[in-house]
Amino acid sequence: MSEYLVDIQHERLSFFTPAGEVKALNDVSIHLNDGEVLGIVGESGSGKSVTAYSLMGLTAYPGKLVGGTIDFNGHRINDLSEKEFRKIRGNEVSIIFQDPMTSLNPVYTIGNQIMEVILLHTDKNKEQARARAKELLELVGINEPEKRLKQYPHELSGGMRQRVMIAIALACEPKLLIADEPTTALDVTIQAQILELMMELKEKLGMAIIMITHDLGVVASMCDRIAVMYAGRIVEYGTTDDIFYNPKHEYTKGLLKSIPRLDAKEHERLVPIEGTPIDLLNPPAGCPFAPRCSNCMKICLREMAPVTTFDDVHYTQCWMNQKEQMEREAAK
């Protein structure tokens, strides 16, 4: 077993649809220590959510793990039965989803939905569970917790609902919290509040967080490490400083360039990344980003580059970088 809290090695995952095999994850490796915050950044379809869901066994039908190993908190996830999964879900690892409006069941009270997970994984009785639920609501900054316990989801605002989701996720003090685009559906000001809350709770409870988002602004403030994903692969990985101040992969550079700046002049155009993502039904043999890359070389179209490491954290998979590094080595 691995010494990491999360150790994913060369994961490959595909969706076997009527149209064919959609290769959603193509050799993804991630590791995370206790208490660390990892950000996974990428556009829609890059595989960031799929990676996180596979950790909890929440991969939607018809998805299947095709290769690699996933270790979490001493469990070999590949080998877990559904029954064993149920023991760790909501308990050792929790997840909060993107849309708080639809993630809560509209016909049951908030109290019921929080107590449900407490009663499931702990030995507490009903009163104790209720007390704990109230405690959790206070923890996540919801006022009048007594009143809220009896209310229904539609009576709360979006921001409050997301706080409730966080309360449910933290109820059993998990070692890992996965946050799948937790603030995308919320107002910017609420966004800031929720992120602040998550950092506070991380400090208090010492849990690790995997933050999935397409928003670079979110990862800048929160994460220790960042993985940039594209078309089912990690194209660059490093510390937050590495990624923001020293990006090595063209895609990462493109993402950073495309962020609209407050100090940009009025007539300055936004800089998108040209081209469209590839079809995952027929992924190319080479680098998936090749068609959109300004540095694309012939070899990029044929095969995937090996990993180029820059220090013990920062790495990328890119022929340009590989070439430059080999030239540097040769020059020594």
Binding site: L58, K87, R89, F97, D99, S103, N105, V107, L120, Y152
Partner: protein
């Protein structure tokens, strides 16, 4: 909420009144009055009958008299069944139909709901396809075909079940099953699609992420949401069993209100036709209102509106 109830009840009253009015004027449209095709009666006798039934008074007066009488439950005497009032006949025959209809509704719910859930759960499998076929047949095949089919197979050929009347417990089986066929199929399909809809919702994913077992997810989280559209259907279903009874009672010779209504039509018993129409319409409309209100109570999303 209170406002909604009042609005709903008001609408119901207006509709009942509309039905009564339409019924009255339609019946009086028939030229020559109700005694036109009676075997030769002398003009004097006709006049006397007309006076007795108040048919010699002006239309407007007759209308108001009729409506106010009807509001008190007085629909006059039956024109064909001497010596009995319409209300009297309704009071004896309706409980029979109600009993059959009630049993059919219960059967439809008890069979339709679980089968619909099962079909959704086993989506895409053979069971799902099988249920889908059965349900489609149940909806498409007209009531009289189902009745006669059952009658022929179980009553005439196999002779397992009685075909006439309601004397024994077994004689209830075929009419109730025949009456329940359409609603059961409808509920099966409704429940299935509602369930599939619910199973695709985000909160079902949350339930799984919490570590809940499939059983708990299905019965606690999914069912409670999926059953709501079925509750809305109960109103129309009750209305259906009342009209379905016309055919069922005719074929199985059951002494219920449906059969009585058909008899009245074929025998041109005007007062009976009018009274039964208004009575049945009132029942249907009232049932719909009750179901609507119950639905609003059951769905917490609507509580506060």
């Amino acid at each position: 909420m209170g406002k909604y109830i009042l609005k709903r009840i008001a609408l119901a009253f207006v509709t009942i009144w509309a039905v009564a009015t339409i019924t009255f004027f339609l019946m009086n449209l028939v030229p020559g009055g109700p005694f036109l095709s009676e075997k030769a009666i002398s003009p004097a006798a006709t006049k006397a009958l007309e006076a007795k039934y108040g048919l010699d008074k002006p239309m407007a007066e007759r209308y108001f008299t009729y409506i106010s009488d009807a509001a008190h439950g007085d629909f006059g005497d039956s024109l064909k069944q001497r010596g009995r009032t319409v209300m009297d006949i309704i009071a004896t025959k309706f409980p029979v139909s109600a009993k059959l209809g009630g049993m059919a509704v219960v059967l439809a719910l008890c069979v339709g709901v679980p089968l619909g859930v099962l079909a959704a759960y086993k989506r895409g499998t053979f069971i799902d396809s099988l249920f889908s076929v059965i349900a489609t047949c149940g909806i498409a095949v007209p009531g009289f075909v189902i009745c006669t089919l059952l009658l022929y197979v179980f009553g005439v050929k196999l002779q397992w079940l009685p075909t006439l009347g309601l004397k024994s417990a077994q004689s209830y089986i075929m009419p109730v099953v025949a009456l329940a066929a359409y609603p059961t199929s409808y509920i099966m399909r409704l429940m299935r699609s509602s369930m599939l809809d619910v199973l695709g919702q985000d909160y079902m994913r949350t339930a799984k992420a919490k570590g809940l077992s499939q059983k708990v997810s299905l019965f606690k989280h999914a069912l409670r949401n999926a059953i709501l559209p079925v509750i809305t259907y109960v109103g129309p279903m009750l209305a259906y069993t009342l009209t379905g009874s016309f055919v069922t009672e005719k074929i199985f010779t059951i002494p219920g209100l449906g059969g009585e209504f058909i008899k009245a039509i074929n025998g041109r018993d005007y007062t009976m036709i009018m009274g039964t129409t208004i009575f049945l319409a009132t029942i249907m409309i009232v049932m719909n209102v009750i179901v609507d209100i119950v639905y609003k109570l059951v769905d917490p999303r609507i509580k506060l509106k």
